[in-house]
Structures are given as C-alpha cells and as structure tokens.
C-alpha cells in the first residue's frame, strides 16, 4: 500500500450481459440473493444516499452515489457503520466497472481508503471474493454457493 492508501482490486468474468449484470448489482431483490441477506436502499441517482441493511434494520454501511453510468460504471462513497473498529477508518471509495469481453462481462471492484493498513479494506478483502463468487454462480447457473449467514 503506497502513499498512505489501502486499496484492493477484484475482478471476475461472468457469462452474462452488461445490462443483466447491472440489474443484478442494483436491484435490491437480486442483491439479497448473493450478498448474504443484506439489502440495499437507494434510487442510484448521482448524489443520492444509499444504505445497506440487514432484514432486522441494522445498517451496516452507507454513503452516497458518486457516479452512475449504466451499464458501465458505478462509484460509491462508502462509510462503514456496523463495527466501530472498521468505521474508524473513515470514508472509503468503491468503483465498480463492467466491461464486455468475448461473451462475458469483466466485473472490476476497486475499493480504497485514504489510509495505510486500513482495517476496513482488510475486512472487505475477505468479503468481496465471496460476494463475487456467489454473484457469478447466480448469474451463470441460477444458484448461489454460500447461504446467508451472520
């Protein structure tokens, strides 16, 4: 991590179309299927707030939509709310990019915090690969691999 920045980049190739993937990333009922039971509330307009919550109403993360260019690019300002030791890292930035490649879509997630050795980035580095594996499986086979858990 150079320059006091913690940053992780994840990529997966999913056999789908950018439009279907965009819908999967932005429709709450779809998100719930692969994101371990959380749901996302927002209208996805630039400047609008978003929040991520469990069915019992516990808000885990929130922020604002920084950029939205369907079905290519989405950027979110991201603040963790659930665990104080992660929330202490302050605001993170998450860029989601969709790029069509030979019958599939390359989905890239670039998550960063302007702070060295961020605990938040360490925590999401365990979460994103599982979410992306689930999403890939759901879009390609209609089934998820990992059931929701808390």
């Amino acid at each position: 991590m150079t320059d006091g920045i913690s940053r992780f980049v994840y990529a997966t190739y999913i056999r789908t179309t950018p439009e279907e993937l965009w819908a999967a990333l932005t429709k709450p009922e779809f998100i719930q299927k692969y994101w371990f039971g959380v749901t996302l509330e927002t209208d996805w307009k630039v400047g609008s707030p978003w929040k991520m919550l469990y069915p019992d109403g516990t808000v885990t993360d929130e922020g604002e939509v920084a950029e939205s260019d369907p079905p290519r690019r989405l950027a979110l300002r991201w603040r963790h709310k659930w665990k104080p030791e992660l929330a202490a890292d302050g605001e993170a930035f998450c860029v989601i990019e969709l790029e069509p490649v030979e019958g599939a879509v390359k989905l890239t997630i670039d998550h960063s915090v302007a702070r060295a050795d961020s605990k938040l980035i360490e925590a999401v580095s365990g979460g994103w690969p599982r979410i992306l594996s689930n999403l890939k499986s759901l879009l390609e086979t209609g089934q998820i691999i990992l059931a929701p858990k808390r």
Partner: protein
C-alpha cells in the same frame, strides 16, 4: 476464464512468489516487483501476463504507472467449488495449527 489457466499459472514457483509479494504489499509497479528478483524485467513481465490472463492479478493505471493487484476471486471460486462452507471452520483450525507449528521455518 478457465480454471485450467488458474492452475497452470499457480504451478510455477516464480509466479507464486510474485503473488506472495503482492499479498504482502498490494498495488505494486513492475519495477517494484522486479526488485530483489534475480530475473530480467522481460521475464517478470511475461510471468505477470500469465497471472493476468488467469485473472489472479489485475492491473490498474495510476497516471503513467501501472499498478498490480492480487485478485483472490479465482482462488475463492476454487475453494468454494470443492471446500464449501461446512468445512471452512475446521480447515481454518487446521491451517492455524500448521502455521503455528511451522512458524519461523519459512515456506515453499
């Protein structure tokens, strides 16, 4: 994106070492990754290309520089295909035991 490409990429000790270096410090340039390696820049570039083709490494531009990031998603796909959620806690306990026993003895 085939699993064959992932296993082929992981089969080489130099490429595993490059992944170890990115795991220790993510987001490095080619020059940083070449430091301390007894290899030509061209050879490292070639290994990185194989890792990128297998999606184990993702590169992002920062100004004129290209930064390389380790991408754990393909390895996670492999783990979830054969390991699954029920075995995960026991495997984590075994991995922890192995790590403790081998601590300080180096690896690979």
């Amino acid at each position: 994106m085939s699993m064959d490409a992932v296993f082929r990429a992981l089969a080489d000790p130099v490429r595993r070492r490059l992944l170890d270096r990115l795991h220790a410090r993510n987001g490095q340039t080619l020059s940083e990754l070449c430091e301390g390696l007894d290899m030509t820049r061209q050879a490292v570039t070639k290994h990185l290309a194989i890792l990128e083709a297998a999606n184990l490494v993702v590169s992002q531009k920062r100004g004129r520089e290209k930064l390389h990031f380790i991408n754990p998603v393909p390895i996670n796909d492999i783990a979830e295909r054969w390991i699954g959620k029920f075995e995960a806690p026991r495997l984590a306990a075994l991995a922890e035991l192995k790590r403790k026993l081998e601590e300080g003895k180096g690896h690979d």
